[in-house]
Symmetry: C2
Subunit: 454 residues, 2 copies
Amino acid sequence: MKTRKILLTEKEIPEKWYNVIADMPNKPLPPLHPGTKEPIGPDALAPLFPMELIKQEVTTDKWVEIPDEVRNIYSLWRPTPLYRAYGLEKALDTPAKIYYKYEGTSPSGSHKPNTAVPQAYYNMKEGVKRITTETGAGQWGSALSFACNHFGLDCEVYMVRLSYDHKPYRKTMMNTWGAKVFPSPSDATEAGRKILAQDPNTTGSLGIAISEAIERAATNEDTKYALGSVLNHVKLHQTIVGQEAIKQMEKAGDMPDIVIAPFGGGSNFAGLSFPFLRLNFEEGRNIRCIASEPTSCPKLTRGVFRYDFGDTVGMTPLLPMYTLGHNFVPAPIHAGGLRYHGAGVIVSQLLRDKLIEAVAHDNLEVFEAGVLFARSEGIVPAPEATHGIATAIAEAKKCKEEGVSKTILFNLCGHGNFDMKAYEDYFAGKIVKHEITKEEIEASLAQLDTPEIN
Amino acid sequence: MKTRKILLTEKEIPEKWYNVIADMPNKPLPPLHPGTKEPIGPDALAPLFPMELIKQEVTTDKWVEIPDEVRNIYSLWRPTPLYRAYGLEKALDTPAKIYYKYEGTSPSGSHKPNTAVPQAYYNMKEGVKRITTETGAGQWGSALSFACNHFGLDCEVYMVRLSYDHKPYRKTMMNTWGAKVFPSPSDATEAGRKILAQDPNTTGSLGIAISEAIERAATNEDTKYALGSVLNHVKLHQTIVGQEAIKQMEKAGDMPDIVIAPFGGGSNFAGLSFPFLRLNFEEGRNIRCIASEPTSCPKLTRGVFRYDFGDTVGMTPLLPMYTLGHNFVPAPIHAGGLRYHGAGVIVSQLLRDKLIEAVAHDNLEVFEAGVLFARSEGIVPAPEATHGIATAIAEAKKCKEEGVSKTILFNLCGHGNFDMKAYEDYFAGKIVKHEITKEEIEASLAQLDTPEIN
C-alpha cells in the first residue's frame, strides 16, 4: 500500500518564521504617506498595530522566533498533512508527481489562523483588550475569532452586510468562538452611521468594513486592528506552511520542481512559496513558484506596478504593488478571498524581478478542477483553493504532453464546507466564464493619480 | 510544550476488524421473520445486500480481514488523530485526563465513511452497479456518495424532503461526489408515487425514504441497498476507530478508565468501545463503556428490551433490541443522527448483560457542552458529538468532586460545519430542555404487538 500522507510530529513545528526580505536582491520600495507622498516610518502604524507586529512588518532579519505560546496553539492542528495526490495523478494519467499541503484541518478550515494566532498573541502581550477586523466571505473573521478566544481578547468583526445576510453560518461560527459580528455598515461607528444615513439599505463593501474596523481601533485606547493578508508580517507568519512542506518533501525523498498557490493578497502564496524561494537563494535551486489568480481579478498577470492604496477609500499608506487600481471592482466570483485589487509589496517586487511567476484561470475552469479533485482525492476544496488545483492540473497536463515527470506541489488552502452554494451554482450551470476586457482594466487604471514607479 | 495529538502512520491502520460477538458471554437472539415470527437465515437478506456483507452480519469469527483496497481508501484520512484535551481539562479545572478520538477529518466530516467504504467495495466486487440508501440530516448519504464514487458505483440517495429543502448543502456535497439525490417521497418509486398521490406536499420521513431505497434495490437486479448504522456489519467496520485508539493510548502511555460515545443506532458507540470491551474480556480489565443518548430519544435508559422492527413501517425483520417502539417520533432535535427509536442488536444485548452503561443528556446541556468544547479545544462539534462531550464533562466534574484522576476517552464523531443553524438557534435562545414523560413512552410502547423477551 502506497503512503498518501506525509506527517510530522508537533515537535517538528518550525521554531522560526522565515523572512524572505533578507534574501531579496532588490528590497521592496518604502510605503509613502498618502498626503505628503514621503516615505513613512513604523510610528505611523502605532495606533493600529502592537509594536511587535510593526517591528515584524519592517524587519530585515532573516528569521523571527515563534513564541512557545503560539506554537502551543498551532499544535491544535499543526503540523498539517502533506498528501501525495495519487488519485488526481491517476485521473489525469500524468507522469507528473503531484503533492498538496492541506491547510483545511485548522478549526476554521483554512490557513488564516496561522497569522491570526500570533497577531492575537502579540496584542494580548501588549495589553490590548479588543481586536477589530473586517471580513468578506468570513474565513479571516472566523480565524481571528478563534485566535482571540484563545488569548482572552474581545473580537469585533465588521462583516460586509451582503455576506452577513447571505452567509449566516460563518457569522454563527464566529459567535461560537465568542466574537461580536456586526453587519457593515453598522451603528457602532461614525463611518457606518454616516453611510447608513445616506442609504439605509446598502449591502456594504469591504472598503466600508475596513473603515469601520480601523475607526474603532483608532478611537479606542485598548483596541487594535488586524489584517488577514497583504502586509509583510502576515506573510511572515504564513511561512510556517512552506517550512513544514520542505521537511515533508524531504521525508518523501522528493523536492518540487514547481510550487503553486492561489493568490488574493499574497499570504497564501507567500506561506507556501517563500521557504522554497529560500532554497533558490541559498542553494541556487531553480524551483518555479507560481501564483494562481482569477482571470476576473488579474492584478499580477494584467495589472501595473505602481504606488496604490491598500483600501478603496484611500486611507492607507501608498504601497508599491501590482494593482488594477484601488477603485477596481472585481466580478462577484465565489472565490471571495481572491477579489482584491492589489498584490502585497513583497510578492510584487519578486514578480517584478522575475523571481516568481503568475497565471490566471477562468471561473469555470477552476470549478471543473475542484470537482475533479473532490472526486479523485475526496476533499471538497474551497473556491479559492480550486485556483491552485487548476494550475497544478495545467502543469501536470503539460508534463504528459511533453512526456516528462516533474514534481508539483500546491497549497490546498481550505475546505469548501461553507461554500456549497458555489458548487450548487456550478452544477446548476450558473458559473460562467468571466474575463475582463483590456478597456475595463485601462479605465480603472486611468483613474489612478498615485505615484508611478520607473 | 506538551503534545496534544497522538498520531499513527498509515502502516498502522488496523488490518482486521474486531467482532465483539465472538467474546460475548450471551450471543444476541436471532432476528425473526416479520410474518411467521420464526428465526430467519442469511438468505432473507440476499435481495438487499451482497453476500460478503451478509456473511459479516452473521459471523461469529473474532477477526475479519480488511481488504487492501479498503485500507487504501481509508488512508485518505485514516488513522485519525487522538487528542489530549488540555484546553477542556483546564476549562473544567479537573484532575481527570481527557482524550478524544477525532473522526471529523474524513472527507464527509464524520465516522460514517468507515463503513461506507467497505460496503461500496464489497458491492463493487460482487458486480453491483448501483447502491441506494436513505438519509436524514445527510451525514450517511454524504459518506456513501464519497465511497461509491471511489469504486465507480452509481449512488442513489433518498433524502427526507424536509432536509432536502432545509439542508441543500449536504445535497450539493453528495452531487459533488457524483450521487443522485432525490427528495423523498419521490417520483422514482412506487412507494413514493403512492404517498405523493395522497399528499403532494408531504415533508417525508426517514421511514418513507427507507421504503423507497429498499424498493429500488429489491426491484432492480444490479442494485443493492446500504444502511449506515444498527446492523452488525456496520458496527464491525467501525471498530477501526477503537483499535486505532488503543494503539494511540498505548503510545501516550495511558489507558482509559472510561470510554464514551454518542448513541443513535449504535455504530458510533460500537466503533470506539468494542475494541476496549475486548480488553475487558481478554485481560479482565474494567474499562467502563458509556453510551450517550438524548433525553428526547432515551431507548437505552428508558426503553424496553423486546423484539421490534428496525423501520417505522414494519417491513424489516424483527430484532431483539432496546426500543421506544417503532412508532415513536422523537422531538426534532438538531442531533438528527440520534433520533432513532431502537438500539442495534449487539449493543442491546451488552446493555442487558450490564457489560456497558448508558446515560442521557438534555438538548440544552449538550449545546452548552459543545460551545465550551469549541472555545477550549477549537473544533466546533456536530450536535451528535456534543452528547459524548457532555458525558465526558459530567465524568470529569465527578472526578473533581471526588478528588480522583481518571482517564476519560470519548469519540468526537464529527465536526459541525454543516450544523451552524443549530448553534444559531442555541445563541438565539431557541434550544429548550426536552424530556419526554413516562406517559409518552408508555403510550408508544403500548402500541407494540411484537414478541416480548423474558
